[in-house]
């Protein structure tokens, strides 16, 4: 129902005002605060536990022969000294992330064990501790809603998925372009904790993750989002419309469950039925349609090819006629046949 014009305008203006207010509301310190990175960029203070010598001191011992080779980082944005925002852009170098590690770098006497760095990115270290240095730089943009997100509360560390020392981080955009045709570097990382989705993508009907043509991050923001299921957009449908804009409408004749939530009928991670449908037709349609005649007919095995094959059971089942189930804009299409 079309609402009074004044009410609509008021609603929109209110929304815009909230946005404008957000700008004003954020304390001036947000915009004007001196970057912590800039403070840290000063020479490290040994009395605060930092080792001297910068990156070069660490590289005296740590190189490609380590169990975890580190020199790949020199090819990455984290190691760009000319960028003062990057970890290596400060004199702290590796300690920008690993914390004050003067004790670790000091010469060890006799058989004494070498102390670990202040922050060691291993499972024994709490995820919240590991993530502090990452969030120091990566808390805006896509990471805005990390704190309190599903992965944050489930103790997932940034380093659980990302490989900072490697020349190529498999999670990053376009890292999938490794020279393999069926490459799913990012998805394989996600499947480590989401095995059901790994199995589903091998079903007969699936999005092209198996072929490396889609990534989990096309639909999900693993760093936290405001939508359900960590979706990149506000709701399921807006996420689907990114690639299926033809189903956005609005249409003259709307199909209510399709307008509400695509996952009412589709299983996005893979299905044994065509078009990612969550159930087989015509039974899926009959979960909501039970009108006289053919919508309520009992489609038993008697409708299989034989003496009395049923139009509504075979090939495209109900879609043999009701082909525009996502909505129709044809004036003669209220039954979605046009």
């Amino acid at each position: 129902m079309r609402k009074p014009c004044s009410a609509r305008i008021f609603g929109r203006l209110l929304g815009c005002s909230i946005m404008a207010g957000a700008l004003v509301w954020l304390p001036a310190e947000v915009a004007l605060a001196e970057s912590e990175r800039e403070i840290l960029a000063e020479s490290p203070a040994p009395e605060e536990g930092y080792a001297e010598g910068g990156v070069e001191a660490c590289l005296e011992c740590h190189d490609e022969t380590d169990d975890s080779p580190v020199l790949g980082i020199l090819q990455t944005p984290h190691a760009t000294k000319g960028d003062r925002r990057s970890p290596f852009g400060s004199e702290l170098g590796c300690q920008s992330c690993h914390g004050a590690s003067g004790e670790h770098a000091r010469k060890v006497e006799g058989d004494a064990a070498r102390p670990s760095v202040a922050i060691h990115f291993v499972p024994e270290t709490k995820a919240a501790v590991q993530n502090v240095p990452c969030l120091g730089c990566h808390q805006g943009g896509d990471q805005m809603h990390w704190k309190g997100s599903t992965h944050d509360t489930n103790e997932v560390a940034c380093a659980s998925c990302h490989q900072v020392h490697a020349a190529e981080d498999p999670m990053l955009e376009h890292a999938d372009l490794r020279p393999e045709i069926w490459n799913r570097a990012q998805a394989d990382t996600c499947f480590g904790c989401h095995p059901q989705q790994r199995a589903q993508l091998h079903r007969v009907s699936a999005h092209p993750l198996k072929e490396g043509q889609m990534r989990c991050s096309d639909c999900h923001n693993a760093h936290g989002s405001t939508g359900p299921s960590l979706l990149t957009r506000s709701n399921v449908n807006e996420t689907c419309y990114q690639c299926h804009a033809e189903k956005r409408g609005p249409f003259l004749w709307e199909h209510a469950p399709a307008r509400e939530d695509c996952s009412n009928c589709h299983e996005p991670h893979g299905s044994n039925h065509p078009s990612l449908l969550s159930n087989r037709g015509p039974y899926l349609c009959q979960q909501c349609h039970m009108a006289p005649f053919h919508p309520s007919t009992a489609y038993s095995a008697g409708g299989l090819p034989g003496p009395n094959p049923a139009d509504q059971m075979l090939t495209r089942h109900c879609l043999n006629c009701h082909t525009e189930v996502h909505g129709s804009n044809h004036p003669s299409g209220p039954r979605f046949t046009r």
């Binding site: 090819q75 509400e260 006289p292 299989l304 003669s332 046009r338």
Partner: protein
């Protein structure tokens, strides 16, 4: 057991000879060590090596694929659908300023699958920390069916015609010239994306980012060309329909990042443009209950197309650290979906158009949905071991599309009826509003062991629907523990209870038709669906969900995992419709690295999804006695069970010069339907030859890949690859269904996919820094 011992022995041998340090050498290493003074020569050598490794590696790969057989399904998304040779081409060229210089420039050009229809190119460059720009190009092929049979000519265009000698009939078996008229067609389409963007770091911690992307989608899809209204007076043909679509997207954001607070303002525009004309086809049928003008040879039908539409959205998102490990964050996004494509006329048939006395109420929809998404969250860890999360989510789709009366002409087959007809319809622009509240708290009861409890409340309001409002409470409890590096355990349970307001089955029907039509129906029959039907997505529901996982690492190189999930939905107050659904899934995972140079993994996943629904078959000309007859009820039980196995390894030999990796996947599924009917629906005398039970619908997918790369020197490598994939699907929906199997639907003869394809690949890789 002997086989296990043999495998372990083989792994031991491989590791012993592949790794200079030998089997489990890493276990014996002592972390403490003494720094030794390096000679000047060693220092210089190390420095040179470090300098070399700091330079990004570029590479170009060139070679060829060989595919043994044609298969659309096998080539779906990859572009390897044709038998024969294809060019293998990949590249990654990159440069960046020396890491220890004051410069920050960089550029990179990547290309993948350059010889295939799934090719992509990505170029990016700029000055890190100041300006980045990128360009993207990508193609994605979709191969649906290669054996589509149709008598229509003009596939891919906007007019489908029948051959001149076509013999029409009221049933597909009457098409005497069908067999000689059938032509094979291929149903496929291609997406092509071209885009680019930039990001600019501005003073005061501001970042401006903008991107533009244009996707074209061209090809064909299958659609249904229907003449006549629903039920017994309609006839259909499955035909190819042109796809020619264009979607442009602009995304602009301005981000402000401070140490404690962040803000991002955004604008998103998505414009969909459909260049395909509405499909018109010649009617292949004749039927006595249509207007004669609708019959072959003069009768034609016309479909609509997906209308052009545009979506604008402005958004603001922000977060602020309040102190005491507490963060408040939220966002608001206001959107406008607009659609104002000109309507096609009620009918393409000029005779029927002449009968129109109630013309279209408007020339276009003037459709508009205003969307508002708003979120507010507070996440706090006020003291060590305690966390608290509270959030509110609001999602409103306010449909401002005008409502009008349309007296439609069903399937270009009859003259326009009056306002008291069932064909007098008023459109229903659905609104949808969600409010969701969530509270969750977790407390560390023991070392790295958290116990959490939570409560969610979701309220959904709908317009023009059977249920005006649903409210759902969810109570959650969870346990998460990682007491040491060897064990990680998670267990979570939820119970949800959804309550629907009064179910008004007739409400959408009343809102979608005219008062004049309602007056023609007896009061006892004022409904569209069975009065006891309850639609599952807006009905009372009790949901129990349990999931958990355990990962054990008994030794550093062995990891074992088990994960499971069960979701059980009961629609307790539903008599007709979906009564019950259950999903059960569990996975066993294992990975074992007997040495640094050999990694193996294996998994098995079982999934079971089952539903139970009840229906009631009744006829429109005998409504009340039909509804009263319990013998007309039926129950369908659907079970989908899927097993998926995976096994793989990667191996490095010859001090890193030879790498080998292999993986095999096997997935099988079985879909079973159990069907029961009441006594009134069972034919007293079974028709000979009629199937009495559904066969299982099955699929078997087996895939194996192996790839080896031998590094000849610092610059050249040779790569050999092999893949085998076999798919065998049996689905009674498609198999044994020829073009004339269905009396009223001229189908295409499409069958379930089946292939067994081999791919071999050989390539040379040239690397340089």
């Amino acid at each position: 057991m002997k086989r296990t011992i043999a495998v372990l022995f083989a792994a031991t041998l491989v590791c012993t000879f592949s790794s200079p340090r030998g089997f489990l050498a890493a276990e014996e290493e002592d972390f403490s060590f003494e720094l030794e003074a390096l000679s000047p020569e060693e220092q210089a050598r190390n420095e040179a090596r470090r300098l070399e490794l700091s330079l990004p590696t570029s590479w170009i790969e060139f070679g060829g694929y060989w595919v043994n057989d044609d298969s659309f399904k096998f080539g779906d998304f990859t572009g390897l659908e044709d038998e024969g040779f294809e060019v293998l081409g990949n590249l990654d060229l990159r440069r960046r300023a020396p890491w220890d210089s004051d410069e920050t420039w960089y550029w990179r050009l990547r290309g993948a699958n350059l010889g295939l229809r799934s090719r992509s190119l990505h170029a990016k460059g700029g000055w890190q920390g100041f300006f980045d720009a990128w360009l993207d190009f990508r193609e994605l092929p979709k191969f649906r069916n290669s054996d589509v049979w149709t008598p229509y000519r003009g596939a891919g265009g906007s007019l489908l015609t029948l051959p001149p000698n076509w013999v029409a009939g009221s049933s597909t078996t009457d098409f005497l010239k069908l067999e000689e008229s059938l032509r094979r067609d291929e149903i496929k389409h291609r997406r092509r994306d071209v885009g680019g963007g930039f990001s600019l770091i501005l003073p005061w911690n501001l970042k401006l980012e903008a991107s533009y992307n244009r996707e074209t989608k061209e090809g064909r899809k299958l659609t249904s060309a229907v003449i006549g209204s629903s039920g017994g007076v309609r006839r259909a043909a499955i035909v190819p329909e042109e796809i020619d679509q264009d979607t442009q997207e602009i995304d602009v954001s301005l981000g402000l990042r401070g140490e404690r607070g962040q803000l991002q303002l955004g604008y998103l525009m998505s414009h969909f443009d459909n260049n395909a004309d509405p499909l018109v086809w010649e009617n292949a049928f004749v039927f006595s209950r249509w207007d004669p003008s609708a019959d072959f040879p003069d009768g034609r039908g016309r479909k609509g197309t997906a209308p052009d539409n545009v979506f604008h959205q402005i958004s603001a998102a922000g977060g602020y650290d309040l102190g005491w490990n507490t963060r408040i964050s939220g966002d608001i996004a206001l959107g406008w979906m607009r659609q104002d494509e000109s309507f096609v006329p009620y009918t393409v048939n000029p005779t029927l158009a002449g009968s129109i006395t109630s013309p279209l109420p408007r020339n276009s929809l003037d459709g508009e949905i205003d969307t508002t998404a708003m979120n507010l969250r507070i996440d706090s860890r006020p003291i060590d071991g305690l966390r608290f999360n509270a959030r509110f989510r609001y999602d409103d789709r306010d449909n401002d599309t005008p409502r009008d009366l349309f007296i439609y002409i069903p399937g270009d087959s009859t003259r326009q009826a009056g306002i008291d007809s069932s064909r007098a319809r008023i459109n229903r622009p659905y609104d949808y509003k969600v409010k969701e509240y969530s509270l969750e708290a977790g407390y560390q009861v023991w070392h790295r062991t958290e116990l959490s409890v939570g409560w969610d409340f979701e309220e959904i309001e709908r317009s023009f629907s059977e249920v005006a409002e649903t409210k759902e409470d969810t109570f959650k409890v969870g346990l998460s523990s990682r007491p040491n590096k060897y064990v990680a355990l998670r267990l979570a349970g939820e119970h949800s209870s959804r309550d629907a307001s009064d179910y008004r089955g007739e409400f959408p029907f009343f809102k979608g038709t005219t008062t004049e039509h309602l007056l023609t129906i007896s009061e006892d029959e004022l409904f569209e669906n069975h009065p006891d039907l309850r639609k599952f997505y807006e009905m009372d529901r009790e949901r129990d969900r349990i999931r958990g996982s355990i990962n054990i690492q008994p030794i550093e190189r062995l990891s074992l995992g088990f994960a499971f999930e069960s979701v059980n939905d009961d629609y307790e107050n539903t008599d007709i419709g979906l009564l019950h659904s259950r999903m059960l899934s569990y996975t066993f995972d294992a990975s074992f690295s007997p040495c640094d140079d050999l990694n193996t993994h294996a998994f098995y996943t079982f999934e079971d999804f089952r539903t139970r629904q009840r229906g009631h078959s009744f006829l429109g000309n005998n409504v009340l006695p039909g509804l009263a007859d319990p013998g007309r009820r039926w129950v369908a039980r659907d079970v989908d069970a899927t097993d998926t196995f995976g096994l793989g390894f990667d191996l490095t030999l010859l001090d890193g010069r030879l790498t080998f990796e292999a993986e095999t996947i096997y997935s099988r599924s079985k879909g079973s339907i159990g069907f029961e009917t009441g006594a009134s629906l069972t034919p007293a005398v079974p028709v000979p030859g009629t199937p009495t039970a559904f066969p299982d619908a099955t699929s078997h997918l087996f895939g194996a890949t192996a790839a080896a790369r031998y590094r000849i020197d610092d610059h050249f490598s040779v790569r050999l690859g092999y893949a085998y994939e076999r798919l065998d699907v049996d689905d009674w929906s498609f198999d044994r269904v020829g073009p004339t199997t269905l009396a009223n639907v001229l189908s295409t003869g499409v069958t379930s996919p089946e292939y067994a394809n081999h791919i071999a690949a050989v390539s040379v890789i040239y690397e340089f820094r």
